[in-house]
Subunit: 453 residues, 2 copies
């Protein structure tokens, strides 16, 4: 019987009883890496029109200035703050990705940082709650994967709400009974359709998950009750939202292995499928000190899914550029990097960029086993051929971004928003997060002192 295991209560008991001392050092460090990466994404997108519009809509109804909107001067109540920081986390599609399933940080960190700032939580409690929230949301996602996603649910929203509830509940010190209710209240709010991809609602999902998960924990703390089998009951979350449910995935090895260890960070603000191509082009440029005028022809050999998803030959906008493996190769070769600035409309329409892009040819080759692999070959005008094989794109588990890479990504994201001195300060606070007496310093360190012009 798939519902024989009391999955909801087992998860609740694990989260409530877990001790930070039992978390391995590498998992703790991954939580700090995720923090730095998440902060950069949220601050970097803080003034995106998606955030501006959501804030304009909700600010008239927000409560006391309890928590910080990252990268902005406004302060709102913790629920609205969790929502808006959750939206900004995901707007650039640049936040972290679990190897199999979900964007782990975007629903959890916004709920936790708002609550932690308001409650003056310690850094260790904050990181611990994050690790546990990620554990809960990833295990739930994996237990229904891939059927749940295939039918049309955006799992970052639908599973993320559990992660936010578990993390916030841990920080609130819920009992096992209350944590079971919090997970149930999360289950009955689980939502988010993949149909929304391409609209502002995609980043609405982690925002709503953060807000609703935090709300679930706050309600449970007041003994607002729910079913105690919100996940596994015949009419519970897993069976209603998926045709597949493997409860053993949720309960096996709790506290022994950590899903956060399978977290990945993107070096480039575009789909993972073009990252290997960008890597290869940057590497060839660096190695051979390439002059674009020397390039006669660029040949890419990639897994067919790369062409299927990013086969746009002549993009016209920055957003279209993100779905063009040709643009990816061109900016790698021309600029030796791929930041958000290389996806500006003006860059996509720049004649120098177009001149290279028009010389890029891509071949779909099923022999290239995965989208994280790519072969790049450049024919120069003088007849030389330069080749490079990328077996694993930067940012994958086989070749993770280094701490230095993450710092550089953070700097590039935050520089347009916060003063220089704040950037180093936030990097330091992230690496030192475990020793902070009050995580509010992170949130307040990420605030703008005055509204942006």
């Amino acid at each position: 019987m798939t519902d024989a295991i009391a999955v909801t209560r087992t998860l609740a008991r694990y989260v409530v009883n877990a001790r930070y001392d039992d978390i391995p050092g590498d998992v703790r460090h991954e939580a700090r890496r995720a923090l730095l990466n998440w902060l950069g994404c949220a601050i970097g997108a803080a003034h995106h029109e998606t955030v501006d519009r959501a804030l304009a809509a909700l600010a008239p109804f927000a409560g006391a200035p309890q928590a910080t909107l990252l990268g902005r001067s406004e302060r709102l109540d913790i629920l609205n703050t969790a929502f808006l920081n959750g939206v900004s986390s995901h707007v650039l599609d640049f936040d972290d990705t679990h190897e199999k399933a979900i964007h782990p940080s975007a629903p959890v960190y916004p709920a936790l940082l708002a609550l932690g700032e308001w409650r003056n939580a310690s850094g260790a409690d904050f990181l611990h709650a994050f690790i546990l929230g990620v554990e809960v949301e990833c295990r739930l996602a994996l237990a229904v994967f891939p059927e749940h996603y295939d039918v049309g649910w955006h799992v970052t929203g639908t599973a993320g709400v559990f992660g936010a509830a578990a993390a916030a509940g841990k920080l609130l010190g819920l009992s096992v009974q209350q944590m079971t209710w919090a997970l149930g209240i999360a289950a009955t709010q689980s939502a988010g359709l993949r149909e929304m991809f391409g609209s502002m609602c995609k980043s609405f999902h982690p925002g709503a998950a953060a807000r609703n998960g935090l709300c679930a924990a706050l309600l449970a703390a007041r003994n607002f009750d729910s079913s105690e089998r919100g996940v596994e009951a015949p009419r519970g979350w897993a069976h209603v939202l998926s045709t597949r449910f493997d409860p053993a995935i949720i309960t096996a090895g709790l506290g022994e292995h950590f899903e956060l260890s399978r977290n990945m960070y993107k070096p480039y603000p575009c789909g993972l499928v073009v990252h290997a191509v960008i890597d290869g082009c940057i590497e060839l440029r660096r190695r051979h000190d390439l002059n674009p005028a020397e390039i006669e022809r660029v040949e890419l050999r990639v897994n067919p899914i790369v062409i299927e998803l990013t086969g746009k030959k002549t993009p016209n906008t920055g957003l279209e550029g993100k779905f063009s493996v040709y643009h990816a190769a061109a900016i790698g070769l021309l600029y030796g990097r791929a930041h958000e600035s290389e996806y500006a409309d003006a860059v996509v329409r720049n004649p120098d960029v177009i001149a290279i892009r028009d010389r890029v040819y891509a071949t779909a080759d099923p022999a290239v086993k995965s989208y994280i692999e790519a072969y790049v070959s450049i024919k120069l005008c003088d007849g030389r051929v330069l080749e490079h094989h990328v077996p694993h794109a930067l940012g994958t588990l086989a070749r993770p971004m280094s701490d230095n890479d993450l710092e550089a990504k953070f700097r590039a994201l935050v520089a347009p928003v916060l003063p220089d001195n704040r950037i180093g300060e936030l990097i330091g606070l992230s690496w030192d997060a475990e020793r902070l007496g009050n995580v509010g310093v992170i949130a307040r360190g990420a605030a703008l002192d005055a509204p942006r012009a």
Copy 2:
């Protein structure tokens, strides 16, 4: 092709272009009846512990005192007010029921009254928006009925969020484009599991639907966008949350017939399935001026579903009493009524009640075609047999509660909460709602002047 009709946009266009002058008089009157019934339910449950706990959890994060919590002294921002009034609407399971599908008022009126109070909306605009919101949520519910409900979704939550979004969007004056987005933002928040029945989360659902639907309309008013095919796309609401979708049900005869005409009101605060039995017992008591001591045996003949759902022979709590057709018969015979007071724990355990209850026998008879029908037969100690057949329970479409019945129900619900003079005032305001310059008078008329002891 089921997704060939642009259902989302068709609904949006209908709601935006609809004119109150085109609404038939009987539908307008039904909106006022629904208003009176809804107000009574929400005020009557205003101090239920479900509401107390939710308010205690959320009040620290609420915004400016823009709107009234019905039957209470607190005022909160409109989103939190919509949530809490939505919860109290449904706590007693005494709110209205569409013939086929959904509790129409609980998600829609709380969103509208909070918004209307804050925006000083006129009574006609308020009633019109309600009628349209009910139309949207009922049509969506019917288009996926019953598969959507059978799989485990609480349709009052999942469809109700669309009703709240459409109604709030109408009051906000959204364009067709914005209304399409509002419905999409509603679609991607649609949630609520039947697994939660029996817990506080059941009434959480209409509260969340009211709040989230209002939020969707507010976001869309600021041009926060969504998919434009949130309902009908292959990965839209209807296909992800149901195995059945009949788009014609949504679009056929819009503006010609109104789902609000199929709305029903409960005379008794318990499951509809025992209403016919209560009716029969009250009628026999009235007609024969029965003395309980004379009763030797009571025989009920009912549809099998009545025994299946309410076959509890010896209830011990008020809540269990609601699931006992034996208790239903006993209170009808003993008290000649079935108000919330007859479901107090003390009444369920009262020896006089138990004495009658033990003499009640119920037979499941498939020849009794529906749960709205019942045969009651009483054998008296002197040998006489009294019989009564109830073909249609009071409150069904075939035998609706009269306006006077609704007033009596309102009085019984509100008397424990508000002073007497307010009761008559609110009844008057409900019947006159169409002529009100500002619906805020209804909300403020339902406020307690000071916190309850």
